[in-house]
Amino acid sequence: MAGADILFDLLLAAFLVLLAWRALAAPQLYQAAIFFIAFGLAMALAWTRMGAPDVALAEAAIGAGLLGVLLIDSLAAFTRGRRSGEAKTKADSPADGPAKVRRMPRAPIVFAFAAGIVFTAAWTIAVLRMPDGGGLTAAADAAMGESGVAHPVTAVLLNFRGYDTWLEVGVLLLAMLGIFCAVGKTGFERERRPGDTDPLINWLVRALVPLMVLVSGYILWLGKTAPGGAFQSGVILGAAGILLRIAGFRAFGLLPVWAWKAGLVFGFAVFLAIGTAALPAGRAFLEYPAETAGAWILIVEAACALSIGFTLLAFFVCLNAASERGAGGEGEHRTMN
């Protein structure tokens, strides 16, 4: 069966390069966005083949799912803005086609492609020359007993290298602040949006959202022993929120703005508080007491999952509201970039 495995992996690798190329070279932005989503899904498959289901889950959820929603939503805003501009100026470009990208010059692409191949070859040689079980694998395996969890990826992310994860949650927060700076704190008003009154869509959202919250909690709990954890769980929460928002459910507008702000910083703050709480007792920063490490990790993960869900949802809410406002008041949104 090894031959079939290698054939599949080679096909997958070639498919990834093809999708990446098409996403860059597609003549229309809409096609590029779709190719990017397909690339994310194929990438998730590649991560699964490499035995990294944790990364695969995150890639499928964020790379293909959430980013796809953001890309297509922004694209709709671009197209709307362009159409309203055209209506005024009667531009001579074809009226109906979605926004077009300018063709990139060939030479730099060819050069970058060649450089990429050289780099990949060098990288492959370097990896093949690495000693077996090299790196920190052995050290991490040896310390699993005192990590408080049974899944090595979670042990590394939340315990051995908690610092990295804490800063990653911080990066998400910074990205949110960046969006606030660029388009303003918009979309969080407590009004009821017109929304979707279609009975089928309504029913679907009512059925799916509770299930998504349940699955999100399940994935969070699963992180102790199997692939899963805060990031994957948070993305599902965020997706449930986006579904509510798109369908215009009232529950969505009930949160006051301070609750939004608290939700955004909650994970980062809890992580920091638990990390520093043990400092007076002579422990290192972000070090948990060994006996109760599992419980602390679960608390940190739950807080982070909530915040990640809030942040990803706020990305969508903020950008979506800004693009709708931009489409309403023609051309004003250009100054906000």
């Binding site: 279609d198 089928l200 679907l204």
Partner: protein, 106 residues
């Protein structure tokens, strides 16, 4: 190979056939509605048959139930998405034509 493995091969291949048919329909059918029709067949029957094939490989009842849950969620999502896209197209008065599509593949 055991009987269960053969069953997996048969159902999996049948599922792959419907995915192939769905993709072909997506590429070749003339308008949005018939393309949606082709796509949902791939999701419903193709995925359904593959899930049936995988059921023969499931180690426990829990795994089998999870597989069935995945299929039913995909059914819900694909038929609702199909409905939403179709409704949107109707609202924009793209009635089914039966003619060659003019929106091309450029």
């Amino acid at each position: 190979m055991s009987a269960a493995d053969w069953a997996t091969v048969v159902f999996g291949t049948a599922g792959a056939f419907f995915f192939l048919g769905g993709t072909l329909g997506l590429l070749r059918f003339p308008d949005l509605f018939s393309r949606l029709h082709a796509l949902t067949k791939a999701d419903n029957l193709g995925l359904g048959l593959i899930v049936v094939g995988l059921l023969f490989q499931a180690d426990s009842i829990a795994v089998g139930l999870k597989l069935l849950l995945i299929w039913s969620l995909a059914l819900l999502a694909s038929s609702s998405a199909c409905y939403a896209i179709g409704r949107h197209a109707l609202e924009r008065s793209q009635a089914p034509t039966g003619k060659e599509a003019e929106d091309g593949r450029g």
